[in-house]
Amino acid sequence: MIRLINVHKIYQQGRNKITALAGLSLDIQKGEFAAVMGPSGSGKSTLLHLIGGLDRPTEGQVLVDGRIISQMVDDEATLFRRTRIGFVFQFFNLLPTLAAVENVMLPLILDGRSGSESNLRAKTLLERVGLEGRRDHLPEELSGGEMQRLAIARALAFNPPILLADEPTGNLDSKNGAAVLELLRQINTEQRCTVVMVTHNQEAAGYGDRIVHLRDGMIEEENPR
């Protein structure tokens, strides 16, 4: 489902070169729940960005769902991302001016779906994440856990085969964090959705089928659960 072949990512910061990924190769199978761990600066987030087509590798190839995302032009990558990849962020990144249901509708509207169709789908997804009673609330009126569940609902708008989560519990208490991880696990098993989750938290990583440890832009070790 996801394949990274000898991927390098080097950032230029002033006169310094910072190597985020140094020849990383990785395969993630369809329906797999992979947790990526590592200290700060190990390249976890960069890995996620490259898989999501948010950034391009300096060298190497990134294949997602059988397509080389690292060679796609911007519009192509955007369209691919819209329907094939769902994102869950640490800080939720919900639009503060939109109600919960509208936040979920947003990707569908971007795709030109009708209002009623988007609304129906959004309601279903809100029910799926247990927020049916909060559909007209603004993000600021929701708790952290609710906001992250809302973000997950938005990520599922197109029923994408891949879900990328960057520290999804990093901003939540343990109870809410556990609920979010349960939800991700549920989506992974019920929809056979491939989940790649970056985390610092060993407990959270335990929800994955496999834990990939990164250090200095390379895989340090891989532990199947």
Binding site: H49, L54, T78, L79, R81, L95, P96, R154
Partner: protein
């Protein structure tokens, strides 16, 4: 897209309601100014055309020669030209009504037996048949008033009306009342008909005609008849279609109208920056949101369309409101502009201002066009936002690369601005050159504004050095403020650029007005050295003035204390089909007391040669418009035919930007057959009692001739008043530009502070008191105001100098001295700092009082 706009834009605009309202109002005001000035400019032109067409009646051709007039002997020659069906001679002009302050009648003197073939005068009551006409003509004090005027002044049939004529106050009897139809509709019904000889006496134009209205025999070609008449006239007058006459009058107002347009352009330019700022700030603030949208699959082009459409919708709504405000503003502006035009150029019968399709289109084209232009760059910037922005937790702070890019752009624009003047295509007219000059100014302004991030960094470096040398004082908040500025020079640069542009625009107008005032007063002091100036109808010679005959000369000359008396005459004429002024005085009579400010040649020598009848002296504008210099010859249309004169010198004259020719009175009288006087210039003997002379003149002639006796100081004040009035619209636009600028600054400062809520929260968390945070934000705003003020003044100084010395020169031919408005410059600086302190205080208070936890978690 509509749904997206509803989802994202509407909510965003609603959330930032204050900033949205400020931007909205800014565009409304900008569009309103553009619309108002377009309406004013069009109404001015159409009013002249309308008046000329109403008076012309059925006339197909008109023979005229400005105020020089046409000799009566020409009338039969023209009438008998093959192809001419009817010819109606007339004299025309304004006469004040004695006893009714400010009331002036447009008196039309016609040949009652010939005029009905060209114009239809409708009389109240019984038809005005031949007997009626003969009865009217037979009594030389007959006058016909319009019905409305008769009602307004309470002057029924048989009543007496006293008019201030060239022979003094004269009484006339109302012998007919006109219906307000056709010609009688001009000047709001302040219209009167007189028999031709009676009117000629009233105007002092005996033996002369102002105009001959002609109709053409059926089957004759107008152009052929016109050329036949032209041959017969031999340069003693011009023959034109009424519309062409209107166009000639219009050309008088070109500079005035271009000047007004320039002022509205400034308002639009400030508005442009307001929109640019708003969209830029909105993009900066929404980078994370845009990043998230990019993550969710929004294409770059959708973002571009989205940002541009958002700006366009807001400007569309603001333009609609701007149109209505503009129409209202035009009503007020027209009153003031109409008065200025009447004082400076010609009496104008202002038509009612209406809003036409062209103004509607202009409003939307300027509102939407400017918004589109202003939004394009920030929208393009928005498309460059990568999806990775969605991961950013702190306020966006542009990289130093952007400061470098802005600096390079600024330097290129600064270097390009003077080049524009040299690379402009040759053969451009006055308006074309002026446009290039204005464009160069605006490019310079943009260039300097682009350098604001660089100036911020340089200023902060300097300031830090200064602060470190004063260790005994606590400068913590000031240091923090410096940090804030140096961390985001682009964001602060936008606010400073707004200040630079607004201040420079305002300062340019103010310095221009100041320079015009200074130059004008200095010119009046050099040109008008007389102790007393006696005139009728108005204090200054011009369209409101009633020329008098020389009858007063012996009496005034004999007054005790009067040492020198000279007679001044000012008429409107044409040269090569374009309007000019002819001025005359006796160079010999005033040789010892008069000076002439010269632009080329020796004034004393030129005056001596002029006194000897060797030629004429032309004004700077004349030289600039017609390229005539000392030694050249000019051919002027006079009632005696075309007359050639040698140019003896070029003098400075601000009477008219269409060009003036100065000629000695004796030569003028001989060739123009005109003995009228616009002003009697009196120089008193040393020690003479000025007040006694004034009293005596008023006592002997005041009532009879409706005289104004002005001292030099009073004349100066009158000139300043006329000038000030002509700048009323400029002042109004300046105020609007200030308001728009205030909106813009508040807008950007508000956004800048809100953007840093999280950062301020962190400061609070690590121990900054509310007072310290407030002080830090306010000090930062103060520095922005100070830096923006200084740079705005630098830009304004360069621009105003260029505008006074170059732009005005190419448009009008006038050379103005540049006078620096020092007081106003200080005021600008103080206002700039005060405004920023005020604009910074409100968000500073808000930011400082935010709960720390909320601020740190701020999204």
């Amino acid at each position: 897209m509509i749904r997206l706009l509803r989802f994202l834009s509407w909510r965003h605009l609603k959330r930032h309601c204050l900033r949205t309202s400020l931007t909205f109002l800014g565009i409304v005001l900008g569009v309103a100014v553009i619309v108002a000035i377009a309406i004013v400019n069009r109404t001015l032109v159409s009013s002249f055309q309308h008046t000329i067409e109403l008076i012309a009646g059925k006339a197909v051709l008109q023979v005229s020669n400005g105020e020089s007039g046409v000799r009566e002997e020409i009338y039969p020659v023209i009438r008998d030209t093959p192809g001419v069906k009817d010819a109606a001679p007339a004299v025309e002009g304004f006469l004040p009504v004695v006893g009714f302050k400010g009331e002036r009648l447009f008196v039309y003197g016609v040949d009652f037996l010939a005029d009905f073939s060209v114009r239809e005068h409708q009389f109240v009551g019984k038809p005005f048949d031949l007997d009626g006409a003969l009865d009217f003509i037979a009594r030389p004090d007959s006058i016909a008033l319009t019905e409305s005027l008769s009602r307004r002044l309470g002057l029924p049939m048989g009543a007496q009306i006293i008019l201030a004529t060239s022979r003094g106050a004269r009484s006339y009897t109302v012998r007919a009342l006109l219906k307000e139809q056709g010609t009688a509709k001009v000047f709001g019904g302040s219209f009167a008909l007189m028999d031709l000889p009676v009117a000629q006496i009233a105007f002092g134009k005996e033996g002369k005609l102002d105009i001959l209205d002609l109709t053409i025999e059926e089957g004759h070609n107008v152009e052929e008849v016109k050329s036949r008449i032209q041959q017969r006239l031999q340069g003693a007058a011009q023959v034109e279609r009424p519309r062409q006459r209107g166009e000639q009058v219009e050309s008088l107002l070109t500079s005035f109208r271009v000047g007004l347009f320039f002022v509205s352009l400034i308002a639009l330019f400030v508005g442009f920056f307001l929109i640019y700022n708003t969209v830029s700030v909105s993009v900066v603030q929404r980078r994370r949101e845009i990043g998230t949208l990019r993550c969710l699959g929004m294409m770059r082009r959708t973002i571009l369309q989205f940002v541009v459409l958002e700006a366009l919708i807001l400007s569309f709504l603001a333009s609609v409101a701007g149109v209505f405000c503009g129409a209202l503003l035009a009503e007020g502006a027209l009153l003031s502009v109409g008065q200025s035009v009447s004082n400076l150029f010609l009496q104008i019968d202002l038509a009612k201002s209406t809003l036409t399709l062209s103004e509607l289109l202009l409003a939307f084209a300027s509102g939407l066009g400017v918004s589109l232009l202003a939004a394009l760059y920030p929208a393009w910037e928005a498309t460059r936002v990568t999806p990775l922005e969605s991961y950013r937790q702190t306020a966006w702070s542009p990289r130093s690369q952007r400061v470098f890019r802005a600096t390079v752009l600024g330097v290129i624009l600064l270097l390009f601005s003077p080049l524009l003047l040299f690379i402009s295509p040759p053969g451009l007219g006055e308006v074309g050159k002026f446009t290039v000059g204005v464009a160069a100014m605006l490019v310079f302004l943009l260039g300097l504004s682009s350098l604001s991030p660089l100036f911020i960094l340089a200023w902060i470096k300097l300031l830090r050095q200064c602060l470190s040398r004063l260790p005994f004082l606590s400068w913590n908040e000031e240091r923090l403020a410096c940090d804030g500025l140096s961390r985001s020079p682009i964001r602060a640069g936008i606010t400073i650029a707004t200040l630079i542009i607004s201040l420079a625009a305002i300062f340019t107008i103010a310095a221009f007005v100041h320079s015009v005032r200074g130059s004008l007063l200095s010119w009046v002091d050099q040109m008008v050295t007389a102790d007393l100036i006696v005139s009728s109808g108005a204090r200054t010679a011009g369209p409101m003035n009633v020329p008098l005959r020389e009858d007063l000369v012996p009496g005034i000359k004999a007054l005790p204390g009067v040492q020198v008396l000279d007679l001044y005459r000012l008429i409107r004429s044409t040269y090569k089909g374009r309007p000019i002024l002819i001025e005359s005085f006796s160079a010999r009579a005033s040789a010892g007391v008069r000076t002439l400010p010269m632009a080329e040649g020796n004034g004393t020598e030129a005056l001596q040669q002029m006194a000897a009848g060797e030629g004429v002296i032309v004004s700077e504008s004349f030289r600039s418009k017609f390229g005539k210099r000392p030694g050249d010859t000019v051919e002027l249309p006079t009632p005696s035919g075309l007359a050639r004169f040698k140019v003896l010198g070029v003098y400075i004259d601000y009477s008219s930007d269409s060009g003036s020719v100065l000629i000695d009175r004796s030569l003028y009288k001989k060739i123009w057959h005109d003995e009228l006087v616009d002003a009697f210039d009196l120089w008193l003997a040393p020690g003479a009692d000025q007040e006694a002379v004034i009293r005596k003149i008023k006592q002997d002639y005041g009532d009879k001739y409706q005289l104004f006796v002005s001292t030099h100081r009073e004349l100066r004040d009158a000139v300043v008043n006329i000038m000030e009035q002509s700048f009323v619209v400029n002042y109004a636009v300046e105020i609007i530009a200030v308001i728009v600028a205030i909106f813009s600054v508040i807008n950007t400062l508000l956004a800048s502070v809100l953007d840093r809520t999280r950062e301020i929260g962190v400061l609070r968390a690590i121990g900054a008191t509310q007072g310290q945070v407030r002080r830090m934000v306010v000090v930062e705003a103060g520095w922005i105001g100070f830096l923006g003020g200084i740079l705005g003044l630098i830009a304004g100084t360069v621009m105003s100098y260029h505008h006074v010395v170059y732009n005005t020169k190419v448009l009008t031919g006038w050379t103005f001295q540049y006078y620096y408005p020092t007081g106003f410059a200080f005021l600008c600086l103080i206002l700039s700092v005060a405004l920023c302190l005020l604009a910074g205080y409100i968000p500073a208070r808000q930011a400082a009082s935010n709960p720390i936890v909320g601020a740190i978690g701020y999204e």
